[in-house]
Structures are given as C-alpha cells and as structure tokens.
C-alpha cells in the first residue's frame, strides 16, 4: 500500500507536468488548428537558454528564467510568422503545416546541438529538499511542478474568462471564421496564443532542468505527452488538457503498481486508443 501511495504521488506530479504542457500546446492547437510539433524543441530551447544564462553567464536565476520565457515567446512567434502563417495563407491543407512543423522540429533540435553541444546540461547550486509525508516522499521541485500548474493554469483560466483578448481567443477556438466576421483580428489572436503557449512551455522546461537535467532530445516526450493530454482531454478545452494530463500521469504511475515497467511506454498509447474508440472527442471535448 505504501508503494501505491507513492505511485499516486508520482502520478500527481507527473500529471501536473503533462497538464501544464498540454494547456500550452492545446491553447495553440485549439485556437489556430496548427499541430505545432516544434513546441517540443522550443520547450527544450528554453531549458537551454535558462541553463546558459545561469551556469555560463552567471546571471541570477530569476533573470535566467525571465530570459528563457522571452526566448520561448520569440521562438514561438518566429515559428508562426516565418513558417506557419505563410503556409496557411497559401494552402488550406493541414498536412502542409503538419509536415512543416516536423521540419521545424528537426531544425530547432539540431540547432540546439550545434549551438550548445549535445551533452547533458544540468544546474548546480540549486538543490531540492525532500519531504516525507508518512511513507510518501516528494521533493521541493516536484511540489513546484504541482504549484506551477495551479498558478499558470489558474492565471490562464482567468485571462481567458475575464479579459477582452481572452474572450477573443475563446471565440476563435470555437469558430475562427465567425470570429473574423464579428471583427476579431484573428491574425493577432494567433500571434497572441503562440506567445502565451510558448511562454507556458518555459515553466515546465525550467522545472525539468532543475529536477533532472536538459538534453537536446527532451522535447520529443514533452510534445508527445502534450499532444496526448490534449487529445485525451478534448481539443479546445483547457480543463480537458489538465484532465488528460492527470489521467496519463496517474495511469503511467499508479497503473504500473502491479505491472512491469516494461509496459510504461505503451500505456499512454493504450489510453489514447481507448479514448479514440470510446470517446473520440476526448473527456471534455465538444462534439462538432
């Protein structure tokens, strides 16, 4: 039973991480209908910028974090302006932008290796504390992952609900054409979601850098799990992305209580297949 409790705690932590990735990726996906796979290497790039600013340039950590958020926003906006928008204006085919996003993924990932080298990057000098809650242990970095979801997710929910731009995003998510007809500048909204979604990626990236370390390929699992969280939770739903992230996190951890970890990489796919068969619109998706 102690093990199950520990695995539940791990599920809560991992679920928070996946959910945060999911809401950043999902915000872009739901609003622009772009499957932005380059979200993965942008997530990795932000970790690298933070590492470089803190470990190599010797900046205070808060400044390094600020720089990496700015880097994420710049990379996100450039992706949209240079790659996606020109392609979207020329072709309605989602396949073209999907292929472009895969190409962009490769370019950014390789650039990271060229600029920073391919070795592991880790942060020294910031250690985590370990807390024991009875038989369950959790580190301060893991608690930060949970807190980050509450803060970022909460702030995003408030922004979407109570601000003009937030409502414009919601309108575009619901129906982009209608939003344009009623006077919403959908191009600006697309830029806005790329900026916000990319900035969100910086938060889990930095926490993983602190908790584990960074590598050029860390973006693959990040964008993969973000994508799964969105599809399982329901495209276009913030709470769906959160629910999807937690479902995957818990199943990946607690689901392996009595099963070999040999199955770990398959279990997320099993959830995806079940969801696609039983509930194709996801947990909170809207039937269209």
């Amino acid at each position: 039973m102690d093990l199950l409790l520990q695995l539940m705690m791990n599920g809560l932590v991992n679920g928070s991480h996946y959910a945060l990735l999911g809401i950043g990726f999902g915000l872009i996906f739901a609003t622009t209908k772009l499957v932005h796979f380059a979200y993965g290497p942008i997530y990795a790039a932000t970790a690298y910028v933070c590492w470089y600013s803190f470990m190599q340039l010797g900046l205070p950590f808060w400044a390094a974090f600020g720089l990496c958020v700015i880097a994420a926003i710049v990379l996100g906006l450039l992706s949209y302006l240079i790659v996606y928008r020109p392609l979207q204006s020329r072709s309605d085919s989602g396949l073209v932008t999907l292929i472009a996003s895969l190409g962009l993924y490769t370019v950014i990932e390789n650039l990271l290796g060229v600029i920073f080298g391919t070795g592991v990057k880790s942060v020294q000098g910031i250690d985590s504390d370990v807390f024991f809650l009875g038989p369950v242990f959790v580190t301060s970095f893991q608690l930060m992952q949970i807190a980050a979801l509450i803060l970022v997710g909460g702030a995003l929910a408030l922004f979407l609900r109570f601000t003009r731009y937030g409502q414009a995003i919601m309108a575009m998510t619901d129906n982009a054409e209608m939003a344009q007809i009623v006077g919403i500048d959908t191009r600006f909204v697309a830029l806005l979601v790329f900026a916000i979604g990319s900035a969100i990626a910086a938060v889990p990236a930095v926490l993983i850098l602190l908790k584990d370390s960074a590598g050029t390929h860390m973006g693959f699992s990040a964008v993969f799990l973000a994508f799964l969280s969105v599809v399982v939770g329901g495209i276009g739903s913030l709470r769906g992305a959160v629910a999807g992230g937690f479902l995957i996190g818990f199943v990946e951890s607690a689901g392996l209580w009595q099963i070999s970890t040999d199955w770990q990489s398959s279990i997320a796919f099993i959830i995806l297949f079940l969801m696609l068969m039983l509930r194709p619109d996801g947990l909170f998706g809207v039937k269209r």
Partner: protein
C-alpha cells in the same frame, strides 16, 4: 596483309593483357582504403557518434601523416544509424558496400550491428565493433571482431564484485534494449547461482526523462543494492533519483561518463561500476600520445569509446598491412578477417597487446571504479570469467 593482321592481333592481345593486369593491380591496390563507420551521428545517443568519429578521424590523420599504408591513404566514410535504428544500419552498410566499395566497417550499437551481420557475411565485409555490448553479438558474423568488453562481461564482473561485498538481495534497473536485456539475462542466470536473490527488475527506456515510477518500485523492494544495467546518460538520472529519495545502500553499474556525472551531480558519490578502462599513462607511451593528441585536437580528454574506435582504425590498418604482405587480391573483408585470425595479437592503445579470442572478442581487463567527488577512481581489476 596476313602479317599486318597478325601484328594487329598481337598488339590487341598485348593491350588486353596490359589492361587486364592494370585492372588487377587496381583491384589489389585501391586509391585509398575506405574505412567505413556506422555510428550514432544523430538521435538521442548522438554523443556516442561524436566521440567515436573523433577517435576515427584522429587515427586516420595520424596514419596518413605517416604515409598511409605503403603510400595509400586511409579515408573515413561515416554513416549514421540514428542512435541504434537497425534498418538505418542496414541501409548504411549497403551504401558503404555498393557506393564506396568498403571492405572494413567500424560498427556500433548492438541492434544495427546484429542487423548488418548477415550482410557482412554474404558480402565478406570485415566488421570491427568498439561500442555494441550485447552478448548476442558474439558469433553474429564470422567477420565480426570486438575490442569492447561485452555488456554481459561487464555485468558479470559487477555481480562478482557485489558477491565479494557479501550482498544478497539485488534490484535491477535495466536499459530496455538488447544490451540491457543481455545483462539482465546473465544476471538472472548467475546471481542466483552465486547465492543471491532478485527483489525487483524495472525497465528504463533509452532517453527516458522520467523514471520516478521505476525508482519508487525499486525503493519499495528494499534491496541490499541496486544494479544499474544502463548506459549514459541514464545512470545519472537513476543515481540522482535513488539518492534523492534517501536510498543509501550500494549502487553498482557498468558505465560512468561525463554526461552521467552531469546528470547525477553529487549523487554520483559512492557509485561503483565496472568498465573498459582507458587512461593515459607514462608507462604506455602510445596511450599518452593518443590522449594528448585527442585533447589538443578536440579540447577534451578521450573516453574509452574514442579510444576503442581510434584503436579499431589501427587494427584495420594493421590487418590490411598483414593481408597485403600475403599478396594476391588482399583487399577483401574475408582476407582481412583471416589476417586477424592468423595472428590475433594487436597493439592496444590501452597499453601493451590485446588478443582476439576465438569468439572474436578481444580479451581486455575489466576495471572496477568508485566515484568520489565526481571523479571516477580506479579501484582494482575484476574478472568476468
């Protein structure tokens, strides 16, 4: 008229003979000896490809600077198996054979090496492995030789060390690929025979970013020690997590690299591991010269992967020299393999000589290290026999 015809025929015959002998000479002595290599130049494990290719390029530069092999230079042709993708390895070998006429290929990673072994047999290509560690590689091709201790040898040496420490109950973290599973197989077979028990076996994907579930299960199994059948950088993550969660008992593994250290940080202290051992010493001038040249060229010290591939180029060059001395159409993979089998002793950059055994694996010492303050300290040699 008949005389003219006879003269013309004779001239034609002479020309044809000349051309034939010329092409035979061409077949015997190529313009350059192309040393093929199939490495992880991209993908999650591209760090291996980087250091291995650096070792290869340095060796080729050195040999060419000394006039190549009887004036014929060596040339590296490096292909990419994308971090262990078997089909990429097969495509790479086919390119090396069909486009480059390569007779020697330096191979790496168990999966691609196993996949190309039958093609090497069919096309008679010499394969020199300095990185793949799966036990399944032994005998995979009659032209395959290894200067890397296989994972099962390293694992067995690690188990012998654990047994020597009086440890009984083991939990193991296994890399989910052929190399990891080959050690698991040996561990399952021999640890029980040594009087030990296995409390838990958990699996880690290559490039895994989150192993909290595995760590929780390992910790819950309450072992006397944890065996890490993992390769870089995964041991770093495992060490960090295990120590973070107050697992204070011994952790024993089979590899420790700078990347492992970076990922583990202070948690690497006390980690013990068995490994091929490359260190430059004054006692062995070649090891020192290699280490100095490598550091001067690349700005970092060579690890044993760089050393193995550097050494493999010299093995290939020596095999070519020996085969050439036999005469005939010597530049063929089977002839080069025969040259190695006929005299299996070669100079080793590690110091002294290494000897290829009947199974194609070079007999090398396996070293036991202990990590202190982030530095690996040589402890002693351990037998894998």
């Amino acid at each position: 008229m008949l005389t003219i015809l006879k003269k013309t025929a004779l001239a034609g015959l002479a020309l044809a003979t000349g051309l034939a002998s010329g092409s035979a000479a061409l077949a015997q002595d190529p313009e350059s000896y192309k040393i093929g290599a199939i490495l992880a130049m991209s993908g999650a494990a591209n760090e291996y490809g980087r250091v291995m290719s650096q070792g290869i390029n340095l060796a080729i530069e050195e040999i060419n600077a000394k006039g190549g092999i009887d004036g014929i230079p060596l040339e590296a042709v490096i292909e990419d198996h994308k971090s262990g993708v078997a089909k990429e390895g097969v495509a790479a070998l086919n390119r090396l054979i069909n486009l480059e006429n390569t007779q020697v290929v330096l191979t790496s990673f168990s999966g691609p090496t196993l996949a190309i072994a039958p093609i090497a047999d069919e096309k008679k290509v010499l394969l020199l492995n300095g990185g793949g560690v799966s036990a399944a590689l032994v005998g995979a091709s009659k032209y395959l030789f290894h200067n890397r201790s296989l994972a099962s040898d390293l694992g067995l040496a690690a188990l012998r060390h654990a047994h020597g420490l009086g440890l009984k109950k083991m939990s193991q973290l296994v890399w989910k690929n052929d190399a990891g599973e080959s050690i698991e197989e040996v561990a399952n077979k021999y640890w029980g025979a040594m009087g030990g028990t296995i409390a838990a076996t958990e699996y880690v994907e290559i490039g895994a970013s989150n192993i909290d579930t595995q760590i929780a299960k390992i910790r819950a199994s309450n072992p006397d020690f944890v065996a890490l059948w993992l390769f870089s950088p995964e041991p770093g993550l495992a060490l960090k997590r295990l120590r973070e969660f107050r697992f204070t008992k011994p952790i024993i593994g089979i590899e420790f690299t700078p990347d492992t250290q970076k990922a583990a940080g202070d948690a690497s202290d006390g980690f013990q591991y068995t490994s091929d051992y490359f260190t430059a010493t004054e006692e062995y001038p070649w090891s020192k010269a290699f280490s100095d040249a490598y550091e001067a060229k690349y700005g970092e010290k060579p690890d044993f992967y760089a050393a193995n591939y550097y050494e493999n180029v010299y093995v290939a060059a020596e095999a070519i020299r020996r085969a050439k001395a036999q005469g005939g159409a010597y530049y063929r993979g089977d002839k080069l393999a025969d040259a190695i089998k006929a005299d299996p002793q070669f100079d080793s950059v590690y110091g002294g000589k290494m000897t290829y055994q009947e199974n194609g694996v070079a007999k090398k010492k396996v070293a036991l290290f202990s990590v202190k303050d982030g530095q690996a300290k040589f402890f002693r040699y351990v037998s894998a026999d």
